[in-house]
């Protein structure tokens, strides 16, 4: 008996939890307890799965005892369990953040909460997609998480969210239709949808049909992963959702698409027939995304654009395709999930503290909100790729792999990557200079409450003089503690620390990513373990 044999529980537990949370829908405290409890158990289970696959083991779980390739198989290898653990960790932090926000806003008296059950369903879908051993199960995983995300994105049904929701739902449905078409064609060409079986049978196909199947799958996954030119829906729809929802979407949804692309490129279509095209797409994704980010005045929209922009790095790694590149991609996925989610949580905190996420209205936050300043600063420079943080390490790995491979196109994409990194830093600095550094009174559209608070703090500092220089900052911390509940701050802080842990333990994590990448590129033991049912 192995922990990995319990893998189905990572999908089943959240679904049962969702049912239970829905049954007690009028009792918000019990809902919270159920959701947090289920997530904690799932996280423990996934930590166990990661430990079980740490040295490169691969396990196949055949649901209902049907042998592959006929039954549904769940695959647990290093890549799956890494993605599972990171995603559950991130969702746990966001859940605590949302809970704290809910308690602070007194949602006990509010309307019936659909948030907790839907959140659990979303996680079940994500887990299912990460473990799916066949294409159709991957489709089902996608659909579960998408349907849950439709509900979460339109929570409350305000006009703005409905507008964003329409775009999001229609784009997602079209991508699902393309995916389903691809599945139908794959089945027609090979007579199977099992990934391991496909890995054996697809190379036997003629060049033409294989290329069609390959590009169809990549387009379907590309919409989900928000790869340019299929990325424009994302900045349009994410920023309007409630802060915790945007945070968890930014962390998980696009990465499920990236996961599928990695599997598709390494397992199903090795050899990189479309690598040149992917390189071009990666460069465009990076540059167009970050140029979009620079034009924004709304912090959440700016973050959405950097999110799509940095997906380009992941596609870059996949397109280079060597073992080192895939390892760096996996490391960068982990970094990207954690950093983007923490930044969106910070955006929620800023919005709560200052009443707006529009940088034209903000200022003085470094003076009146010291904790928030630290919480923003660390993930922000991490995103910008300042050494020695994980953003830098991931990019370094990618560049290293690309330089090793060489070629004009690779060098061009490296240039695009460096430019994007620089422009990301510029975008971050602009936010820093405006929101945190300048005086609130200097803002283009000054916010009265911020101006008053900043004045109060500086007056107190002045009164304290040389004897009591702490007077002003103590006051600032007191005001901040009232405006931002401790749960929200600590939940964000925990993710920021997780991002730092990725830096501190970089050598161990990267060695693990290299083991995963070696397996992915070799496509063994994935194929044998699923087909022989070990």
């Amino acid at each position: 008996m192995n922990v990995a044999q319990l893998a189905p529980l990572a999908v089943v537990l959240p679904i049962f939890g969702a049912g239970a949370a829905f049954l007690v829908r009028r009792k918000i405290r019990q809902q919270r307890a159920i959701t947090i409890g289920i997530l904690a158990v799932t996280m423990l289970l996934e930590a166990g799965m990661l430990a079980a696959t740490w040295n490169g083991e691969t396990y196949a779980v055949h649901i209902g005892g049907w042998d592959a390739p006929f039954g549904i198989a769940l695959m647990v290898d290093g890549f799956s369990s890494f993605m599972l653990l990171v995603s559950t960790l991130v969702s746990m932090a966001v859940l605590l953040y949302a809970t704290s926000q809910g308690i602070a806003d007194g949602d006990e008296q509010g309307p019936v909460s659909i948030f907790h059950p839907t959140y659990l369903i979303l996680l079940a879908g994500v887990s299912n997609a990460f473990m799916a051993g066949d294409l159709f199960n991957l489709y089902v995983g996608f659909e579960i998480l998408l349907t849950a995300s439709y509900v979460l994105l339109t929570l409350g049904g305000t006009a703005e969210r409905i507008r964003a929701g329409v775009t999001y739902v229609v784009v997602s449905v079209v991508s699902s239709v393309l995916f389903l078409t691809a599945i139908a064609m794959v089945y027609a060409a090979t007579g199977t949808v099992n990934l391991a079986d496909l890995a054996v049978k697809l190379p036997e196909l003629d060049e033409g049909p294989r290329l069609i199947l390959h590009s169809l799958l990549l387009i379907a996954f590309g919409i989900k992963a928000a790869v340019f030119p299929l990325s424009l829906w994302l900045p349009d729809s994410y920023p309007t959702a409630p802060a915790p929802v945007t945070a968890v979407f930014a962390g998980l949804l696009t990465k499920v698409g990236v996961y599928a692309i990695v599997r598709c490129e390494t397992l199903l279509f090795p050899g990189g027939a479309l690598n040149q095209a992917l390189l071009v797409v990666a460069a465009l994704t990076m540059v167009v995304g970050i140029l979009g980010a620079l034009a924004q005045t709304d912090f959440k929209r700016m973050l959405s654009f950097t999110l799509t922009s940095h997906i380009g790095y992941l596609i870059f790694g996949v397109a280079v395709g060597t073992e080192l590149a895939v390892a760096a991609t996996i490391y960068y996925v982990g970094h990207h999930i954690i950093v983007q989610t923490s930044l969106f949580m910070v955006a929620g905190l800023i919005e709560r503290r200052a009443g707006s996420a529009n940088v034209r209205k903000l200022g003085s936050l470094a003076k009146i909100s010291p904790a928030l300043t630290v919480l923003f600063f660390i993930p922000a420079i991490n995103l910008g790729g300042i050494p020695p943080l994980s953003g830098f390490l991931g990019k370094l790995g990618l560049m290293h792999a690309a330089v090793d491979t060489g070629g004009v196109l690779n060098w061009l994409v490296i240039a695009a990557g460096l430019l994007t990194s620089l422009l990301t830093l510029l975008a971050i600095i602009r936010v820093w200079a405006r929101v945190f550094w300048r005086r609130a009174a200097d803002a283009e559209e000054p916010t009265e409450s911020l101006v008053a608070e900043a004045k109060e703090v500086s007056d107190l500092t002045f009164q304290g003089g040389a004897e009591r220089p702490q007077l002003g900052s103590t006051k600032a911390r007191e005001v901040e503690a009232i405006a931002l509940p401790w749960g929200m701050r600590w939940a964000t802080a925990s993710l920021v620390v997780a991002g730092l842990a990725l830096t501190v333990f970089a050598s161990q994590v990267f060695a693990f990513c290299q083991r995963i990448a070696a397996e992915l590129v070799a496509r063994e033991p994935y194929i044998t373990s699923i087909l022989t049912g070990q």
Binding site: F136, T158, R163, G165, A184, D236
Partner: protein, 149 residues
């Protein structure tokens, strides 16, 4: 494997009509388009099963080749349920949109329009510096700049 050409033609028509409708701005038409797309793809999956066969129930002694392929049917069943759920959700959303705006069209993103209309001039970064930026003053309180006495 022989393929039913009628099914393929119908699939093509359904998908073409579906994509055309999805590109409309009226939400109801988009919904109809999505339903057509769903049906078109389901038909495509059915086509992959090959020619007609016996019902896929096991009978001992019968050649496996005379059975219809049951897997595409299972896939379609799942896909139909999913399309159904999404259609219901979209209908609810369209109704909500109608309640809010009395409009049945895809609205523009106001923030997007604001950004696209804004000029390249940035007050914070491009404004000319005020003339006196020095902190040093002479005895009478006039600012002292480099190269001046």
């Amino acid at each position: 494997m022989s393929v039913n050409i009628t099914f393929l033609a119908i699939t093509g028509v359904l998908l073409a009509a579906g994509f055309y409708l999805v590109l409309e701005r009226t939400l109801t038409r988009v919904l109809l388009g999505i339903m057509l797309l769903g049906n078109g793809v389901n038909l495509l999956i059915l086509t992959t099963a090959g020619r007609l066969g016996k019902a896929p129930l096991f009978e001992s002694g019968l050649d496996p080749n005379v059975y219809a392929d049951p897997l595409p049917q299972a896939l379609i069943l799942t896909a139909i349920v999913i399309t159904f759920a999404v259609t219901a959700f979209l209908l609810a959303m369209i109704y909500r949109s109608w309640m809010l705006n009395q409009a049945d069209v895809v609205a523009d993103d106001t923030e997007d329009i604001k950004v696209s209309l804004s000029s390249a001039y940035d007050e914070e970064e491009d404004a000319p510096l005020a003339a006196d930026t020095t902190e040093f003053v002479d005895e009478e309180g006039r600012p002292v700049r480099e190269g001046e006495e």
